[in-house]
């Protein structure tokens, strides 16, 4: 019966995992993105501040014209667990943006320089304007994009993911997408305004290759000193840095969460150990009883 109990436990755990839905993005013949290495992998993983700062530069200079970051405030950039900009840097950065405020005492809306407490301004006044400027396609907001993109892991791999902690589908996909622009395979017709991408579901994406803003057709960077910290400017580097920045943008409390998690786990482990010994001790009274009766 105890064996049966163990099988029951194992079966239910396996079943709960088995029954998990595969993410919806696997449709349409796209390839699975290759896995990258990330500093924030696993229970002790943290963000690489320099990488987040480089990724922010890529976002600002390449993506921000079309993609908003509307759920973030400038102040987030200097908060613990993030890119680690100084408050002065953030203040200066915010002041470079024009923010709509008001109404003032005359009842009029006005523009003023941004403050650290402001949210990132949206690149377009509304979705219709965004579509009109982008051939009818709406560039998605980037605030949680790293959690909103995934690919199907397939059975039984996603059960192992519980233990291996793999949860970087989003950033692996984003990196692959940025590197996945290729000429279409022979015989495949790509309509005007669309571009062939190896990793995009359905392979036809409205966004033109964004890395063209950093690299020329031969794959050489326009500016070899694009990263001020001396990091070599390669396509993989740019794609990964941006993806890492977007992971932080989607999960700014990740470091706080993991730190708390380690403490909670250790505390629970200790408590479980103590309770187990207490339980053994209390239940041993039952075994003692016959000896005392004699």
């Amino acid at each position: 019966m105890t064996i049966a109990s163990r099988i029951l436990a194992a079966a239910i755990v396996a079943g709960c995992s088995l029954a998990l839905a595969g993410p919806a993005l696997a449709a349409g013949g796209a390839e699975k993105p290759p896995r990258q290495t990330w500093s924030f992998y696993g229970p002790f993983g943290t963000f690489d501040k320099a990488q987040l700062q480089r990724g922010f530069k890529v976002y600002r200079e390449v993506c921000a014209a079309c993609h908003g970051l509307s759920k973030l405030s400038f102040r987030n950039l200097s908060e613990p667990g993030g890119p680690g900009f100084t408050e002065g840097q953030v203040k200066a950065l915010a002041a470079e943006f024009r923010v709509k405020d008001g109404p003032n005492e005359q009842g009029e809306m006005f523009e003023r320089p941004g403050r650290p407490s402001d949210r990132f301004p949206r690149p377009f006044p509304n979705d219709e304007a965004a579509k009109a400027a982008n051939n009818g396609a709406l560039p998605p907001d980037f605030s949680v994009i790293a959690k909103a993109r995934s690919y199907e892991r397939g059975f039984p791999i996603y059960i192992f993911d519980i233990f291996t902690q793999y949860q970087q589908q989003g950033v692996d996909y984003l990196t692959a997408l940025l590197l996945g622009y290729e000429p279409p395979p022979p015989g495949v017709k790509v309509e005007d305004g669309l571009h062939w991408n190896r990793y995009f579901p359905g392979n036809k994406i409205a966004m033109a290759n964004p890395l063209a803003a950093v690299f020329d057709d031969a794959g050489k960077p326009h500016d070899p000193n694009f990263f001020s910290d001396g990091t070599p400017v390669t396509k993989l580097q740019v794609a990964k840095d941006l993806s890492a920045f977007l992971m932080w943008a989607a999960e700014p409390k990740m470091e706080e969460r993991k730190r708390a998690g380690v403490k909670v786990m250790l505390w629970l482990l200790l408590l479980a150990g103590l309770l187990f010994m207490l339980k053994k001790r209390i239940w041993s009274r039952l075994d003692d009883a016959p000896a005392k009766a004699h």
Binding site: M1, A4, S5, L8, K71, R257, L278, P290
Partner: protein
């Protein structure tokens, strides 16, 4: 165990004064301290306590979330992100609540399968079991409405698919759906009423849980041997400290699994699409419910007719309430039913595969022979669905008539001796004062 008498003795004057007017301390003492529990319970019996813990955890985290959440289609998604980013420990509240729902279902499924294996629904525990089924149904309704609140893509489209099921009802179906939505599509009124009900239902669950525990304490717990308590001194131990400490240990172990997801893998049990704000004009590639609904979703999709599918799905849940009368065996515990044991495990596997079928695209091939698809996901789901119903309607009624059970132990104490092989039955009882 209804004849169990109160052993509470008020010690102070205040306690005597209160006890004479409202014997609430006596009630707590009798139900949580001196309440006799069979001494042979295994760790599967700790899931009742774990479920209580999860219910309380969900209510507490839920109330804190409501303090920061905005139930409006334009602000719901934004306010959840506000909780994640700007509220102190908001990420903890939200991840504990969303993963807590999953853990609640993990625990409830283990609890239900335990009841099925050990025949915990048989006389005199039929009402206890039926109250459990009522809690399960309320839990499903609560979880479904809770999933709608973040107003992501899966929230919106899940709500659309599930509410649309009611349109299958002849004649009045469409009107019912309009009434449920509060309009002609899933929109702000729908979100508002789901929010109101999502807040209400947990307290209804709490009420039914009280009835469930009351019934349990009236009839007493079943146990792995399925033999009723005959001699309190030999067969039972007092709830405190024996069951209390065991339950606490199990709860902490369960909390570690819970914490693993909350702190290190918080989005594993969720769906990436729900981080995309709801868009009524854009249908996701696959609309899938949360994992805990998948077996029932598998049944729904297995039936080609819409009304038939809806009826089959609701019937698959309603059938549980009739289990006490569908199982005709006189023997409670599966441990003494060699044939039932096999069918039980087959049933568990069928439920898991139903969940798998529910998670996959319907046209996916399950079995191909020579390049031809012999069985697709729909066909696979149909076989599993037929088996699911056959288990309750054919196998269980017939098993009780034809199966030859193993000899039962004379008492709980005897079954303990048989499994441990030492000790004397005369001294096997617990003495609470030691």
């Amino acid at each position: 165990m209804g004849e169990h008498h109160s052993t509470y003795v008020p010690k102070t004057g205040i306690e005597r004064w209160v006890d004479a007017r409202l014997p609430i301390v006596r009630l707590m003492h009798d139900s949580a301290v001196s309440y006799p529990v069979p001494r042979n319970l295994n760790y599967f019996w700790t899931f009742g306590g774990i479920l209580m813990l999860m219910l309380v955890s969900q209510i507490i985290t839920g109330i804190v979330l409501v303090m920061h959440y905005t139930p409006h289609v334009d602000f719901a998604f934004q306010s959840v992100e506000h909780i994640m980013r700007d509220v102190n420990y908001g990420w903890l509240m939200r991840y504990a609540h969303s993963n807590g729902a999953s853990m609640f279902f993990v625990a409830v499924y283990i609890h239900m399968f335990r009841g099925m294996y050990y025949g915990s629904y048989k006389a005199p525990r039929e009402l206890l079991w039926i109250l459990g089924v009522v809690i399960f149904v309320l839990m499903m309704a609560t979880a479904f409405m809770g999933y709608v609140l973040p107003w992501g893509q899966m929230s919106f489209w899940g709500a659309t698919v599930i509410t649309n099921l009611f349109s299958a009802i002849p004649i009045v179906g469409e009107s019912i759906v309009t009434w449920l939505w509060g309009g002609y599509s899933v929109d702000n009124p729908t979100l508002n009423r789901f929010f109101a009900l999502h807040y209400l239902l947990p307290f209804m669950i709490f009420g039914v849980v009280i009835l469930h525990v009351w019934a349990l304490h009236h009839v007493g717990q079943n146990n792995p041997s399925g033999v009723e308590v005959k001699n309190y001194a030999k067969d039972t131990v007092p709830f405190t400290p024996y069951a209390t400490v065991k339950d606490l240990f199990a709860m902490v172990c369960f909390l570690m699994v819970f914490a693993w997801f909350v702190f290190f893998h918080p989005n594993f049990l969720g769906h990436a699409d729900n981080y995309i704000p709801a868009d009524p004009l854009k249908t996701p590639a696959h609309i899938v419910p949360e994992w805990y609904f998948l077996p029932f979703y598998g049944i729904l999709r297995a039936v080609p007719d819409k009304l038939g599918g809806v009826l089959a799905m609701f019937a698959s849940i309603a059938l549980l309430a009739f289990l006490p009368w569908l199982d005709t065996s006189k023997v409670k515990s599966g441990a003494y039913r060699p044939a039932f044991k096999i069918f039980f495990w087959v049933f568990v596997v069928v439920c898991l595969f139903l969940g798998y079928a529910g998670s996959q695209p319907t046209d996916k091939a399950v079995l191909t022979l020579g390049g031809r698809v012999v069985l697709d996901m729909v066909g696979f789901g149909q076989i599993l669905t037929i088996y699911y119903f056959a288990h309750f309607l054919v196998i269980l009624p017939l098993l009780g008539l034809f199966e030859k059970p193993l000899p039962l132990p004379a008492s709980i104490a005897d079954s303990v001796l048989a499994s441990t092989g030492h000790g004397h039955p005369a001294g096997a009882h617990a003495s609470p004062e030691k």
